[in-house]
């Protein structure tokens, strides 16, 4: 009853209206993008990005061009999509495997240099990678990893934030399980993969989302490493369409919609992991 009175009060109505306003502001740019993706590019040049419904000019032409045309940027689009998917999958799988191992090792074993290593993890976490991109670029040249997906993946695949997160998570796991498994004849890696990884699954959920999203949206490093059009990932490819001549805007706009669509769909199903994954940094605070 208390609740009903509160919901009806003037302040709760004002609050609700305010939040409806915020929600509209949050969704509005995406809505405008989606609407533009159904309009020809000339409309965009003549009237800018707007929210006018004009059924006379709207249609699926841009999407048809992306899906059916094999020429120009439309022809490259699914190649970029595939590159993004391949890099995101490889990066996420390897990153989770190695960073869970490192985090677990730091949490569960006493060994010389452990505290030093953990401090180094924190140091890497704190320094922006942009400081070292030029020497890292030179290093990629000497490894001949320029213009290769491994050049995009390898330098950052052992990521400090997931290591930190897995360590914090593993600290809460019972160490008695390790001894029990040892008595049963399990070796150290068997303990990790068969006993501990299943216990760490919630951490894997949050980290999968965080790392996959980061990789999918990553910009600066792939921009530096990937040099030819057919090797581009989605963000790099889309950016390359922002030419002043603007003959590629059909692909640019509809392609942007297609780039965020899978993430929005995944978000609907795995909301909890998204929220956990993206606010993980807060455990530091």
């Amino acid at each position: 009853m208390d609740k009903r009175v509160r919901f009806g009060s003037l302040s709760s109505i004002v609050l609700l209206l305010a939040f409806i306003g915020f929600a509209v502001l949050a969704l509005f740019p995406l809505y405008a993008l989606m609407l533009a993706s159904f309009k020809p590019a000339q409309e965009l040049f003549r009237y800018g990005l707007n929210v006018r419904w004009d059924l006379a000019v709207m249609g699926f032409e841009n999407y048809k061009q992306i899906f059916l045309s094999h020429e120009g940027s439309a022809g490259h689009f699914f190649g970029w999509y595939r590159n993004s998917i391949v890099i995101t999958l490889l990066y996420t799988v390897i990153c989770l495997l190695v960073s869970s191992m490192v985090g677990y090792g730091l949490a569960m074993y006493e060994f010389k240099g452990r505290n030093l290593l953990f401090t180094l993890v924190l140091v890497v976490m704190m320094l922006p990678v942009e400081i070292i991109i030029l020497p890292l670029y030179k290093l990629m040249i000497s490894f001949t990893l320029i213009n290769s997906i491994w050049g995009v993946i390898l330098p950052f695949v052992v990521a400090p934030l997931p290591i930190f997160f897995f360590r914090q998570f593993a600290l809460g796991l019972p160490k008695d399980f390790m001894d029990a498994a040892r008595i049963d004849g399990c070796n150290e890696f068997g303990i990790f993969f068969r006993v501990m990884v299943p216990l760490m699954l919630p951490a894997f959920g949050a980290m999968t989302i965080l790392q996959a999203l980061q990789s999918w949206n990553n910009f600066l490093w792939p921009l530096i490493v990937l040099r030819t059009t057919e090797k581009f990932t989605l963000p790099i490819g889309l950016t390359s369409l922002l030419s002043p001549m603007g003959n590629n805007y059909e692909v640019l706009i509809a392609g942007s919609v297609l780039a965020i669509l899978p993430i929005l769909i995944l978000f609907i199903f795995f909301q909890r992991y998204f929220v956990e994954g993206l606010t993980v940094g807060g455990v530091k605070g």
Binding site: K3, S12, L15, A18, F19, F22, A23, L25, A26, P29, A32, L33, Y47, G48, L49, N50, V98, M101, V102, Y104, G105, M108, Y109, L117, L120, V124, M126, P128, E130, I131, I132, I133, L134, P135, L136, Y137, L139, F156, V158, N187, E188, F219, L220, P235, L238, T239, L242, P244, L252, I253, S256, I263, L264, F267, F274, V275, L278, T279, G281, G285
Partner: protein, 310 residues
């Protein structure tokens, strides 16, 4: 390992146990090996290289040490412009992206608001959008055309069309709006999880003592939110000084008019990959490192101070 092979099972067991013990000593190093390798190859080595390069003139095929020349070159208008842009951007993101998400979280946490889960998810959705796609949208919204979204909003209140991305203050406004749109949901969630960790009985005893909601907010909520505020401020400052993609998107990777969109990382990128002056680029990077270290020190001081109070 047993050197003599015998039939005795006792010996075998002892040997196995010993190798297992060895394994227990070696295993942790194997677990952390990926980090050690990656740290040496992809972090320490490039970092040392960056420091060396900043004292070098790096030409194809030959490098030579030129002392502090690269750092002396930093004394130029472009660098100050970039530093000014980053500082201004960082200042405004902190001013907007701390109180606004905090207020949203406080209301989302209160029973007064209906549909809280829905609003939480909706306000979070922009954070899923990549900076690239967000940049494409906002670049078009802030277009110069009379009919572009921002200009038509201006017309509603009787202001004529603006060339948003040609003016220093208007383009800064555009960048801040873009950052706010994309980032408010994440900071809001940080605050929300911090709010949910405040013990309820603190509020109960406060209201027994006759404190109203506003008084409770200032004497309970705000102090309890201090650690997360320090954290959010720190990542905002890091992010602000390392900002690159947002401005790259708004000006399409080209030089912005009078350098209004130039950032420190953009300057590194320009010097390194457009002018191939790697030494100078490295010197900018090391300067950015210095800024980051100062910020970290301040953060440590601030959180240390909090510990004394608590």
């Amino acid at each position: 390992m047993p050197t003599v092979v015998t039939d005795s099972t006792k010996n075998k067991l002892a040997g196995r146990r010993r190798s297992k013990l060895n394994m227990q000593i070696v295993a942790p190093y194997l677990f952390v090996m990926p980090f050690i390798l990656s740290f040496i190859v992809f972090f320490s080595y490039p970092l040392i290289q960056a420091m060396l390069m900043s004292f070098q003139e790096v030409l194809p095929g030959e490098t030579r040490y030129i002392g502090f020349d690269n750092y002396k070159k930093l004394w130029n208008e472009d660098f100050f412009q970039a530093l000014y842009n980053n500082t201004r951007y960082t200042f405004w993101t902190v001013v907007v992206l701390i109180p606004l998400p905090m207020a949203l979280a406080v209301f989302l946490n209160s029973k007064l608001l209906a549909g809280r889960n829905f609003f939480r998810s909706t306000l979070f959705i922009p954070a899923l959008t990549s900076v690239v796609v967000a940049g494409i949208i906002f670049r078009l919204m802030f277009g110069e055309l009379d009919n572009s979204l921002m200009n038509s909003i201006l017309h509603l209140v009787g202001i004529p069309s603006q060339k948003w991305l040609q003016s220093s203050s208007l383009s800064m406004l555009a960048l801040i709006i873009l950052a706010t749109w994309r980032w408010v949901g994440i900071n809001m969630l940080y605050y929300l999880s911090a709010l949910q960790n405040i013990p309820k009985d603190m509020y109960e005893s406060a209201s027994l003592d006759g404190a109203g909601p506003i008084r409770s907010f200032f004497s309970i909520t705000l102090p309890q939110l201090k650690p997360i505020t320090i954290y959010v401020t720190t990542i905002s400052i890091y992010g602000g000084y390392a900002m690159f993609t947002e401005s790259y998107m708004l000006w399409g990777g080209k030089a912005s008019p009078q350098g209004i969109g130039l950032t420190l990382v953009g300057y590194i990128y320009q010097q390194g990959f457009e002018y191939f002056d790697l030494g100078f680029g490295a010197a900018i990077g090391i300067t950015l490192l210095g800024i980051t270290l100062v910020v970290s020190m301040l953060q440590l001081l601030a959180s240390g101070m909090f510990k004394k109070e608590a």
